[in-house]
């Protein structure tokens, strides 16, 4: 079991090296290089100075040397320097990424738990009201743009009904006690988390309904009933754990998509995550930050995939191999 995890982590690292290589290629694709951007920002400069800076950055070296240097730098945590923010990209990322990861995780967990429960309830009455709710919800969840939903939620619950703050992650000035501060952050995070999770909740409820219907028709459920077990034991012990397997798989595959949604939600709600950072860096053509965010996003999905793998292993003994 542990070798499988080590393999999985090594594979994740290889994927990240591939992402760094991609980043490097993207820099090569960009019209002009860092130096051009720097000089343009500085209002132009003479070619001799440009050549000097290029040499300092190693840009006069052959491409493969540049790639290796770049890889080495990235892997040692040197993600470059943002000329616009005037700060190392790594520290920018470390400031922004936790908020985003928190949003992604809480939205995904909320969606999985509530979506699965809703799906289970619906599966117990395949033609009942809850099933219709799941169907309608999943259609709307598929069809609604998350950033627009965020705006609608703001109009409704922040403007029309002023229940929740519209922007940011905390009230300024910050409340005194740690508890009040935590509650304040929570208050700010309700709408963004709800916005992001509701769409995935919809799709998980449908998935879990289908998966549950599948499982409820299986032979081992009949066996469980033949043992005289109470119906809730049959549903929550025997059926749910099996029905959860495809949901865990899909959730793992969707981390990237949820991350994308988080970028949009952060932009709408002005949360201090990677969304606004990415947006700003694109406006300023700040390539190191842009690519740093892409790298940070890739790290997040790789880690999330490894975690999903572990969860799946815990749930499904067949994957674990013969013990």
């Amino acid at each position: 079991m542990s070798t499988a995890i080590v393999q999985r982590i090594v594979y994740g690292l290889l994927l990240l090296i591939a992402v760094i290589t991609l980043n490097f290629l993207l820099i090569q694709l960009a019209p002009g290089d860092v130096v051009d951007v720097l000089l343009t920002e500085a209002g132009g400069g003479d070619p001799a100075v440009a050549a000097q800076i290029r040499a300092a950055y190693g840009l006069d070296q052959p491409v493969y040397v540049q790639l290796l240097t770049y890889l080495a730098k990235m892997l040692t945590g040197d993600l470059g320097y943002s000329y616009y923010f005037d700060e190392p990209v790594l520290s920018l990322l470390l400031d922004a990424l936790p908020a985003t990861v928190m949003l992604v995780l809480s939205a995904l967990l909320l969606a999985m738990v509530i979506g699965t429960l809703l799906g289970v309830i619906a599966a117990l009455r395949p033609q009942g009201l809850s099933s219709h709710i799941v169907t309608v919800l999943s259609l709307l969840g598929y069809a609604t743009p998350v950033f627009w939903l965020g705006m609608m939620v703001l109009l409704l619950f922040s403007q029309y009904l002023p229940w929740f703050p519209a922007f940011g992650m905390r009230t300024i000035p910050m409340p005194e006690t740690p508890l009040a501060r935590a509650l304040d952050v929570l208050h700010h995070m309700v709408l963004p988390t709800f916005t992001l999770s509701i769409l995935y909740l919809a799709s998980y409820s449908r998935l879990s309904r289908a998966s549950m219907l599948d499982v409820l028709g299986s032979d081992y459920i009949r066996t469980a009933r033949s043992k005289g077990l109470a119906e809730y034991v049959v549903i929550f012990k025997h059926a749910l754990k099996n029905a959860a397997l495809p949901i865990v798989t899909i959730a793992g595959l969707q981390v990237g998509s949820v991350f994308s949604g988080a970028v949009l939600v952060e932009t709408v709600f002005s949360l201090p995550g990677v969304g606004p950072l990415l947006y700003e860096s694109i406006l300023r053509r700040d390539y190191p930050v842009m690519l740093g965010v892409l790298f940070g996003a890739a790290v997040t999905t790789v880690v999330a995939n490894i975690i999903t793998d572990l969860v799946y292993r815990v749930l499904d003994p067949r994957i674990r191999g013969i013990s």
């Binding site: 032979d219 009933r225 033949s226 077990l229 754990k241 099996n242």
Partner: protein, 340 residues
């Protein structure tokens, strides 16, 4: 083997009928089925797929899928208690304790995400109220009882780590956990290799001898019946068409369907195989119950069909526990009304 011949039967089924609602129409899946089993006795129920034998088993367990199904008539007496009248919670207390069942597919009948020990102990905890550790210890004993090697290790194995035969042994251990009065075995060996089949039958017989469990063996295979059963009932299209002891049915079948069934069994007609005759088959197909049959359900395939077969024959009792549902057995019939 028939230890309890004089006693009251453990299980008595009388006039059992099951209806299904299919596209808003009532279809009778099981019609007026009756039989009884004594302690330590094995009753074989034989028939083609779709003849109602599995539905009979589910009725005994109180597990007829509902909707669309429903027991519409009859009584199922287990030690004198009518299961058809029992509440669902009473039925849950009986299921797995007084009457239990093993299924055809050992590969899929165990929950893949729990250890076999957990799944056996679960039944013990449910019905005997034992603690987790005690129940697990009993699970080990049960695995030993069904001859699973290294039971103290296998108790923490997952189903996928066991072979099909081993899994069926686990199913048997689970079914026997509370020493039930009646064990229903629905095609217990169909999915297994021939050698493993024989081992499973040996095991069932051994346990029956030791505990006096009554076994209802449901199968489409006359070989299995002749190996295991004391008495046999033959089912066709939801009807019990013939009943008798194993010898009576195999040597002196009265119903044309039973006769046809026996002709299809190479083991029974060894000489036919020596002459390298092709296996005969019964012409035609099982009738579609949706079409609302009147009369004898076998008439359309029957070589001896006659006018009278448009009317459903009653079950003619030839002797105690010996009956045939066919007009040919009607002693009062005029000699002129013999097969056309």
């Amino acid at each position: 083997m028939n230890t309890g011949a004089g006693d009251r039967p453990v299980l008595e089924v009388d006039g059992l009928s099951v209806d299904f609602t299919v596209r808003k129409r009532q279809v009778r899946i099981l019609s007026d089925v009756g039989f009884s089993i004594g302690r330590g006795e094995t009753l074989g129920i034989i028939g083609e797929s779709g003849c109602g034998k599995s539905m009979t088993a589910l009725s005994l367990m109180g597990m007829v899928p509902s909707p669309p199904g429903r027991i519409s008539a009859g009584r199922i007496l287990l030690n004198g208690e009518d299961l058809c009248a029992a509440s669902e919670s009473r039925m849950r207390a009986i299921r797995g304790r007084n009457i239990s069942m093993i299924f055809q597919e050992p590969m899929t009948s165990l929950n893949p995400v729990y250890t076999v020990g957990n799944q056996i102990a679960e039944t013990i905890r449910r019905h005997k109220g034992l603690s987790g550790a005690d129940a697990l210890a009993e699970a080990v004993d049960l695995l030993r009882l069904v001859h699973i090697p290294a039971p103290d290790k296998r108790v923490s194995a997952y189903p996928h780590e066991l072979s099909g035969g081993m899994r069926q042994r686990v199913m048997i251990a689970m079914a026997l956990a509370c020493e039930p009065d009646v064990l229903i075995a629905d095609e217990p060996t169909t999915a297994l290799d021939v050698t493993v089949q024989a081992q499973i039958f040996d095991l069932l017989r051994e346990i029956q001898d030791a505990r006096g469990t009554a076994i209802v063996l449901i199968t489409h295979d006359f070989g299995a019946v002749s190996e295991m059963a004391d008495r046999v009932i033959v089912m066709y299209a939801g009807h019990k068409i013939e009943e008798g002891s194993l010898d009576e049915v195999s040597d002196d079948a009265r119903h044309p369907y039973t006769q046809g069934l026996l002709r299809c069994m190479p083991e029974i007609r060894a000489r036919a195989r020596e002459r390298r005759q092709p296996l005969p088959e019964i012409p035609g197909v099982v009738p579609d119950l949706l079409k609302g049959l009147t009369g004898c359900p076998f008439a359309s395939r029957c070589p001896s069909a006659m006018d009278r077969c448009r009317e459903l024959p009653p079950s003619f009792a030839l002797a105690p526990q010996r009956a045939v549902k066919c007009w040919l057995a009607d002693a009062s019939a005029a000699p002129g009304e013999q097969p056309a």
